[in-house]
């Protein structure tokens, strides 16, 4: 068998096979957002919970009421260590994360819930700080925390504080968004620099002999999304916020779900110099590092210019760029044209060498 045949066989197998969960125990790799996480969801969670709302495994489920109203519903949990880091803290992440899951589903966020899991021994003053941050972040974003819950677990059972948030949002009646809308020829836009959040948290842990002014990009994207939808309407085909697993993982999910190929241009992808430097030292590819305030938008080619201008006009999209294009060839794969003049595959990672950074 020659190389091409081997590759074709492997690719066919990769595309066909749903992820299998062969591990006997949960390891940190299952939480890293890569292939191990996907296996956990697809092989264990989905079969047990299967229903038409969950099935698309989108950022938010879309519930259609009898009068035609569409509600988006999403949930997420936050277990970041340290609890505070340059540019944000666990509370800001918890509010922004759920808002963003709703926003990229095309929904205007209406309200959030917050569940707090507190570790015995956590200083009340510290808790008060995070709760204040929770309130302030929600107010800034204009999305109230409408309900909540607290539980306390024994010392050593949580890293001080875990937060879980859920949210609901209202989807415009005409909205049709999702991987199934992606067409060959569509353009891939990215709202700004990548890798800021993940590297900010990693540096803030203080375990590295690294210091640098890297700030998390945590931010609520619903304003940027609303502007984009207002300018481009149905020509916006799909949106994602590339959190855990980074831009590489988000694009791979889209390529796989839409059965298209995605070609991106390395030189067009913005990376802050400090982030690039830290990634280089640690041997980490910024394409896999988490973001908490970035938008990937896949739009029809006819609106690409307008979409880019609209994003750049918004404070959260000032550094937006066109990073790539959707192709028919190599369905399910993401290909990177390197700055150096070569090409390579960008795959989903099996796990993540850096546990729990978002």
């Amino acid at each position: 068998m020659d190389e091409r045949e081997v590759l074709e066989r492997i690719e066919a197998r990769r595309q066909r096979a749903s992820r299998r969960l062969l591990d006997e125990r949960i390891t940190l790799a299952h939480g890293a957002g890569g292939r191990s996480s996907q296996a956990l969801v697809e092989a264990l969670l989905l079969p047990a919970l299967r229903n038409s709302l969950l099935e698309p495994l989108a950022d938010a489920a879309i519930l259609e009421l009898e009068d035609g109203t569409q509600l988006a519903f999403s949930t997420d949990s936050y277990v970041v260590k340290p609890l505070s880091f340059p540019g944000g803290d666990i509370a800001r992440l918890a509010v922004h994360g759920t808002i963003n899951d709703l926003a990229v589903s095309g929904a205007q966020p209406l309200a959030l819930s917050a569940g707090l899991i507190l570790e015995e021994g956590l200083a009340v003053a510290e808790l008060a700080r995070y709760v204040a941050s929770l309130g302030e972040t929600a107010r800034e974003a204009g999305v109230p925390i409408a309900t909540g819950d607290t539980k306390v677990v024994e010392r050593g059972k949580a890293d001080g504080l875990y937060i879980s948030t859920s949210g609901i949002g209202l989807v415009a009646a005409s909205s049709k968004l999702g991987a199934q809308e992606i067409r060959s020829g569509d353009r891939v836009l990215l709202s700004g620099t990548i890798g800021d959040h993940g590297m900010a948290v990693l540096v803030a842990r203080g375990e590295l002999e690294l210091e640098g002014a890297i700030e998390s990009d945590t931010a609520p994207l619903h304003g940027l999304v609303a502007a984009l939808l207002a300018a481009c309407g149905a020509a916006v085909h799909c949106m994602r916020d590339p959190t855990r697993g980074g831009v590489a993982t988000a694009l791979n999910e889209l390529a796989r779900a839409s059965r298209t190929g995605i070609v991106i241009d390395e030189s067009a992808i913005p990376v802050a110099a400090t982030v690039a430097g830290a990634c280089e030292i640690l041997g980490i590819d910024p394409l896999y590092v988490a973001n908490e305030g970035k938008l990937i938008a896949i739009v029809g080619p006819e609106v690409a210019e307008v979409a880019l201008a609209t994003m750049r006009a918004h404070p959260l999209g000032r550094e937006a760029t066109l990073i790539g294009e959707i192709r028919e060839e190599r369905p399910g794969m993401v290909i990177l044209d390197t700055t150096f003049g070569g090409s390579r595959v960008v795959d989903t990672l099996a796990g993540d060498p850096l546990p729990r950074i978002c």
């Binding site: 190389e3 091409r4 081997v6 590759l7 066989r9 492997i10 690719e11 197998r13 990769r14 062969l22 591990d23 006997e24 125990r25 949960i26 390891t27 940190l28 790799a29 292939r35 191990s36 296996a39 375990e207 590295l208 002999e209 030189s267 110099a273 690039a276 430097g277 280089e280 640690l282 041997g283 590819d285 192709r327 060839e329 290909i335 990177l336 044209d337 390197t338 700055t339 150096f340 003049g341 070569g342 090409s343 390579r344 595959v345 960008v346 795959d347 990672l349 099996a350 796990g351 060498p353 850096l354 546990p355």
Partner: protein, 373 residues
């Protein structure tokens, strides 16, 4: 970053690629081995092969520290990690390496206290912070990382740490190269020498390759332009009929290496009589162990280890891949039974492993062979 873009310029690369193409005699073939896994990674990550004519073939070598650890040593590591009171510290790459009974990550899920560190000094700090626990550092790597392990041993000695030890698996680059050159089945035309290792040992240890085996060597840096330039330098040697050890990485590497780094290794470690390499078997005088004088910091002396020799899984062809005799995709289980999420062999685990690099980045024909889109 200026530094990065300087060594990744597509424009300079295109010029160099043209000069390489001009040196290649059509119809002939050039098999060049990049010894170091860091180069393998760079080659795939930047798509360097796309800039090479079809006549130039890059063969991946044994220089991936995670890949060469045999199953038995990984079992020993897990046995230490699962002892009561032990905090076992390791670089992230080793966490997923499969052993007889799962990986360190699996041992951690079963309850072992396994922690990822970025340097051996982090492990020593953990020992200071946890005086009632035994902290063990899983030391792996070639001569590149041995100096920092050595410095940590010195520091542990100075502090009088009594709850810290290292499980020493440092290996040496030159011995397996000799083994590869002695193998009858492999035809190699030249070597890209490892940059980082050479900052420590210099270029002198490779001179036997040129003098005894008549093959050219170019020690190269890790930026894609470094690699491309070293290929150009190798082809020049070949066309001019020279075989020398040349240094492309002059901005960092000196012929005699780093004397201070060599001295701290010498002070704390000694060459073992023999050491098992994954897939390559036992190679004489190919690894470092802790010197007797520092024995209290040697996990092999402190803990009872199974120390059994475990055969590699029957399907595993890592040995052939590490010697460059097989290309990753030629292994029978590549991409089917052996994938990054369920690795059978070590080469599929480390990002410097040829199988993982090829699987994650390289599953693409060379540009010259690709069907036009």
């Amino acid at each position: 970053m200026k530094h990065l873009s300087e060594y990744r310029s597509g424009e300079i690369a295109a010029g160099l690629a043209e000069r390489i193409a001009a040196l290649v005699e059509p119809g002939s073939s050039y098999k060049l081995m990049e010894i170091c896994g860091g180069h393998t990674h760079a080659i795939y990550r930047h798509g360097i092969e796309d800039l090479l004519p079809a006549e130039v073939q890059l063969v991946h070598g044994p220089g991936c520290p995670v890949c060469v650890i045999p199953m038995g040593r990984q079992d020993d590591a897990i046995a230490i990690a699962e002892q009561d009171g032990v905090i076992f510290t390791t670089f992230a790459d080793m966490l997923r390496v499969p052993a007889t009974n799962g990986s360190l990550l699996d041992a951690k899920a079963r309850g072992a206290d396994v922690r990822m560190v970025y340097s051996p000094l982090d492990a020593l700090r953990l020992a200071r912070e946890n005086p009632d626990r035994q902290v063990v550092f899983f030391a792996i790597g070639f001569e590149t990382t041995a100096p920092s392990t050595a410095l940590t041993l010195l520091r542990a000695g100075a502090e009088g740490a009594n709850n810290f030890s290292i499980f020493c698996n440092h290996v040496l680059v030159p011995p397996p190269l000799r083994a590869i050159l002695d193998a009858p089945d492999l035809q190699l035309d030249g070597f890209i020498g490892p940059g980082h290792v050479s900052t420590v040992i210099g270029t002198q240890p490779y001179e036997f390759i040129a003098s005894e085996y008549r093959k050219p060597v170019v020690v190269a840096g890790f930026e894609p332009l470094d690699v491309l330039q070293s290929i150009y330098m190798l082809l020049r040697q070949l066309t001019e009929g020279r075989c020398e050890v040349e240094n492309q990485y002059v901005r960092v590497v000196r012929r005699e290496g780093n004397e201070r780094a060599l001295a701290v290794i010498e002070e704390t470690m000694e060459v073992r009589d023999t050491f098992e390499w994954r897939g390559l078997g036992f190679i004489e005088r190919s690894a470092l162990g802790v010197r007797e004088r520092w024995g209290q910091f040697d996990a092999e002396r402190r803990f009872e280890l199974p120390g059994t020799r475990v055969a590699d899984p029957p399907a595993c062809q890592c040995g052939e891949v590490l010697r460059g005799a097989l290309r990753p995709w030629e292994c029978k289980v590549f991409g089917t039974a052996c994938t990054p999420e369920r690795p059978i062999g070590t080469c599929m685990v480390s990002s410097e492993g040829a199988c993982a690099a090829y699987y994650n980045y390289g599953r693409l024909e060379r540009r010259s062979e690709r069907t036009p889109a």
